[in-house]
Amino acid sequence: MKVLKLIFKNALRHKLRTFLTIVGIAIAVIAFGVLRTVVTAWYIGVDSAQADRLITRHSVSFIFPLPYAYMEKISQVEGVEKVTFANWFGGVYIDKNQFFARIAVNADNFFDVYTEFDISPEQLEAFKKERNACVLGEAIADQYNLKIGDVMVLEGDIYPGRWEFVVRGIYNPKTKITDASQMLFHWDYVNERLQQETPGRANDVGWYIVRIDNPDNSGAVSQRIDNLFKNSPAETKTESERAFQQGFIASTSAIITSMNIISFVIIGIILLVLGNTMIMSARERTREYAVLKTLGFSGKHLFGLILGESMLISFAGGGLGLLLTFPIVSTIEQIIPKGMFPVFQIEPVTVILAVSAAIIIGIASSIQPIYKALNTQIVDGFRFVG
């Protein structure tokens, strides 16, 4: 018979109470894991940003377009290696609930700048050759069961009308944090139609993506680009891709902050649940601790017994919760539209946080019972009536 066995037996002394505590911790860990996954999914754009890419947009707001003519000027700025552009198209595919990014791009060099989008040379060539061709992210192709040669019809909203595209390529993400849920097509195709139907809206692009030769010079290069267009009707704001993505997230910062707070409030709830169980258990065993002390067991033995039991319950609940979080997150990923969270998976940091929380909660929950057990005199322990 070892002390470890006594820890197990103590933990199972009130099976229902221990079971409910473990289930309570597991549910809280699942809620924590899902919330943290949403938060990390929100930040995935920031994480996937490349240090050697700058974004040049209208200085007032991202929604104001920039002239196509800027491309040539930006490409001549010192430190600029390559320039491409993109334009948010919007539109409706099937119905308004089908959300994913639909973007008109410079087909000639977009994939030269976004090298993390892996597309075969043959498919890329086919895409470049055909005006109404499009390239889909692997996730979108899978979700809608689209193959090369299929036709996709979008109902325009920002750009009204019926828009037909032929799938000529499917790109795969090179990393697990690369967005594989985009639909990319020729800006020229859109622009030509605008020239005919609404000439006032033609020859504008949404934003420029600038690849620079040295990430250390991003500040200087940004300054040079913005200086080029100072006092022009469309002044620019150039920033790193990371800062650009963070700007997007800032608009939803209240939601993310709330989620962050709630996820840590959940940790507090787990602490209270386990703390309550441990305090009750230790209180009921006051007399037994007095017996153990009488028999010669020291403070460190009682410390080990109580901490061990607390850690055992905490790890059982945390482990169960973490194990269940994976299939639950996977199910949520299947349910939500692909474009909403391009990457929705449990990050290692979430696992580390959950395990750390289990350790901290196990320790914190045992502090009061340990203090009480160590500081109760043997004679007082024998007099105790629970």
């Binding site: 018979m1 070892k2 002390v3 066995k5 006594l6 037996k9 103590n10 199972l12 002394r13 007399r287 037994e288 017996v291 153990l292 002390k293 009488t294 028999l295 010669g296 067991f297 020291s298 403070g299 005199q377 043997i378 004679v379 024998f382």
Partner: protein
């Protein structure tokens, strides 16, 4: 016979806020090796307090307690715990077995603090349980045992380390007459056959008669000596 326990000028008080409550007043008593002493007295007379002081689970406010040459009042908490583990066997009124452990595991508890191997521990536990007549119930949990059997397991736990002294606080107080007789007979046997020095607190004159010597306490004073 040589004196194994010397209690010299011992007083004990408890404090309730600023009010001092004296429990024992200048107690002097000696117990010889192999003696079976019964401490008697009404509730609140201080007999359990004196037992607690002799067994090292409480400390005197004044005076000296010398057990087999060791001034136990001068030992630190950790040293006192070790001293208790190897020198004193405890028997309580309410048995105080750990309910989630079997009889075997309860008896084995004090041995976990020793350097004995698993096989040696097993041998000691089986011997102790045989002495108390419960070798066939070693894998039963306390709730599967009667009160008398539980107390016999508690006695086995008390003797498994072969301690110098057995202290028993009202060991028959929670038992029916027959079970109480069995326990008293067992304690007599431990004293006569195994030469254990025993101090037993009781308020039952019939139980006290089984001891070789009786001392009475009243309102914290040791008042008379009867044999």
């Amino acid at each position: 016979m040589s004196s194994i326990i010397q209690v010299q000028n011992v007083s004990k008080s408890y404090w309730r806020d600023s009010l001092e409550i004296p429990v024992l007043n200048n107690i002097n008593i000696e117990v010889n090796e192999g003696e079976f002493l019964a401490l008697m007295g009404p509730s609140g007379s201080g007999k359990t307090t004196l037992l607690n002081l002799i067994s090292g689970i409480d400390r005197p406010t004044k005076g000296k307690i010398n057990i087999n040459g060791v001034d136990i009042a001068s030992l630190g908490e950790s040293a006192l715990a070790k001293w208790r583990a190897s020198n004193i066997g405890f028997v309580f009124q309410f048995y105080n077995l750990i309910p989630v452990l079997t009889a075997y595991e309860n008896v084995e508890l004090p041995l976990l603090l020793t350097k004995l191997s698993k096989a040696e521990r097993k041998q000691h536990v089986e011997t102790a349980l045989s002495i108390v007549g419960l070798a066939d119930r070693m894998h039963h949990s306390p709730k599967q045992l009667s009160g008398g059997q539980e107390q016999r397991v508690a006695i086995a736990r008390a003797i498994v380390t072969d301690p110098l002294i057995l202290v028993a606080d009202e060991p028959t107080g929670d038992l029916d007459k027959n079970s109480a007789e069995e326990i008293l007979t067992l304690m007599e046997r431990l004293n006569s056959e195994f030469k254990k020095t025993i101090i037993m607190v009781t308020h039952d004159p019939h139980a006290a008669e089984r001891a070789s010597r009786q001392r009475h306490l009243e309102k914290g004073d040791l008042i008379e000596e009867l044999v």
